[in-house]
Symmetry: C2
Subunit: 361 residues, 2 copies
């Protein structure tokens, strides 16, 4: 869009004033903001033209003007100052991502709640594993004659376990045999290849008479299926209520119920590259429920396999630059922490290593 320099300035001022005040801004307000270098009458003319161009709108004849979706778009693309996060804020974010309370839900969760707190909008976080998950290794721990533990190491370096109680006694040697057979035939294969045929043949190979093989296989399948699922968390939903556009309970509720539907959230726009911030404004959203809300998402990648999204949803009247900067910073932090965070370094100069708790459970 080719706008005169003056129109750009005026558009920017209107957007910024409106974002801050949540009320239509009039020609006079713009004039004083500009230090009265231009008269309000001139600004009136310019604003009328900006309205013709579809960048501003008038809620009613005798009110100031507010940006249209297109106006926000121009602002975001061309006029917005890309602000850097302050070093103080950076420290807060680092601190909170680093010192998450143990036993709490995972890091991604924490990132979501951090995002919603820092932006005062509802945030959602989703972590997806795009690579194929397989079991790298099985171990079976004999506890007592009626109890053993299944321990599996996945190819993404997480450990999962299950305690199994039996009603018939089990021979420790059987567990050893099970381990070697499962390690031979169930490791390194994706969930689709754990077929009933494989289970049956394994059962025969083990000489299993008490149905222990299907149980282990079932546990394995469950793990692998679960690791495929994209799980999404939404936090800070009630932040909505702080913003005047959601004083209307029904409006708030419509958005809230939209936000609590995971399948809908999965359809939100995804940034195509790691670190990229994607801003979708009002009607640019496919979902009708979001036609006057904006979505800002940022993607973070961890290695090649894992990628995740953090996003914030709020009214179109949003502090785009601030939100984008903070999200972006959080995403960076996540990439770093997730890449190296839960591997414990030992044996060097006795550094004060931190425990990751991702796999505890």
């Amino acid at each position: 869009m080719n706008l005169s320099e003056r129109k750009k300035i005026i558009l920017r001022v209107v957007v910024e004033q409106y974002v801050q005040m949540a009320e239509p801004v009039g020609s006079k307000a713009v004039a004083t903001e500009l230090g009265s270098s231009i008269s309000s009458a001139t600004i009136r003319n310019e604003m009328a033209e900006l309205e013709l161009l579809g960048l501003l709108e008038q809620p009613h004849t005798s009110a100031g003007r507010i940006p249209s979706a297109l106006g926000y778009r121009i602002y975001v693309n061309e006029l917005m100052m890309h602000q850097k996060i302050s070093s103080g804020e950076a420290q807060v974010i680092n601190h909170m991502l680093g010192n998450r309370p143990p036993g709490q839900a995972g890091l991604v969760d924490q990132a979501g709640s951090l995002a919603s707190r820092l932006t005062t909008y509802p945030a959602y976080a989703m972590a997806a594993v795009t690579g194929v998950t397989t079991i790298a290794r099985f171990d079976f721990i004999f506890v007592d004659s009626h109890t053993f533990i299944i321990v599996t190491l996945l190819n993404n370096d997480t450990v999962k376990n299950k305690l199994v109680h039996l009603t018939v006694p089990i021979d420790p040697h059987l567990l050893t045999k099970l381990a070697s057979i499962f390690n031979a035939s169930f490791t390194g294969i994706p969930e689709e290849r754990i077929t009933q045929a494989l289970i049956n043949s394994t059962e025969r190979a083990v000489g299993d008479t008490i149905g222990i093989v299907p149980v282990i296989a079932g546990f394995t399948i469950e793990l692998l299926v679960e690791s495929k699922s994209v799980d999404t968390r939404v936090t800070g939903t009630m932040n909505l209520l702080n913003h005047p556009e959601y004083r209307d309970i029904d409006k708030a509720q419509r958005l809230i119920s939209y936000l609590s539907d995971d399948t809908e959230l999965a359809r939100l726009p995804l940034p195509s590259a790691s670190g990229e911030v994607k801003i979708t404004i009002g009607p640019e959203n496919l979902a009708a429920e979001l036609k006057d809300t904006s979505v800002i998402t940022v993607r973070y990648d961890v290695g090649e396999d894992v990628q995740g999204i953090i996003g914030v949803i709020g009214p179109t009247r949003m502090e785009y630059s601030k939100v984008a900067a903070r999200l972006s910073y959080i995403a960076q932090g996540l990439s770093v922490l997730l890449a190296g965070g839960d591997k414990l370094q030992l044996g060097l100069e006795g550094e004060n290593s931190k425990l990751g708790d991702d796999d505890i459970g």
Copy 2:
């Protein structure tokens, strides 16, 4: 409180009408509800007396009457029909508690969300472990020269694990040694008794030069501390917005922010016996924020050690009998499922056993 039979009937009708309609009920409404066996004038007199007794209130001179907190109390204690849950509802509850999606948060979580859905009020669920948690057994699995897995079995039959990466190679024999030493000195003791002195002496006994003992000890402490924590979940907060008393956003927000404070929630009234339903009405609550909300809680016990609370918070105008019945049923279900749910039965007549996923993680 000694009330004439007629006053009791009138009070009951007023409460029930008001609970349903959310609007003050007048003498005429009561009369028609009673099939006009008594005239509205008589009822007016009775209602005036009930107001003098402090059981009814008038929002303003020319409106109907609404129950006071005391009125609700009398209703709950003396007049309420203790309704049984319908068999259809029971089935729904059973089904949802049984078929929770794998990989989802725990059963308690599910129970909370079930409670909020069935009652249309915000619900909170909290599970507390009152017994002392200790480690029953350690195992260390050698993965490769720089990696091993810590597997611990707790005395409450859950398994926790952690993957440890090392920067220096480790000898498998060291792991065997570690296992025997940790099993000898770290099992069966509560977190308080894992002192720095114990860690130091263990380190010497192992001949640990790479700082591996403190890491394992640290993990252990973390586990035991975590197992002590009471974690509380609140679900369905947004249900509030469906109820007319929370059309006022500020009021809703005050309660919502109260609900998101775990430490406040921990102070809510607790039923003293398992299965008991405790109802706290409006100003009976200690917290000022709850002065016009009611809290219904029910306790469930699992064995001797674990006990938990499920509660529902809503406006004083609440369907007490319905909520109490449903909560009570959910609590029963939880007790049963938690007592036996995650132990897998094997080796009998090949029953179709279900996998519990509480410890998978």
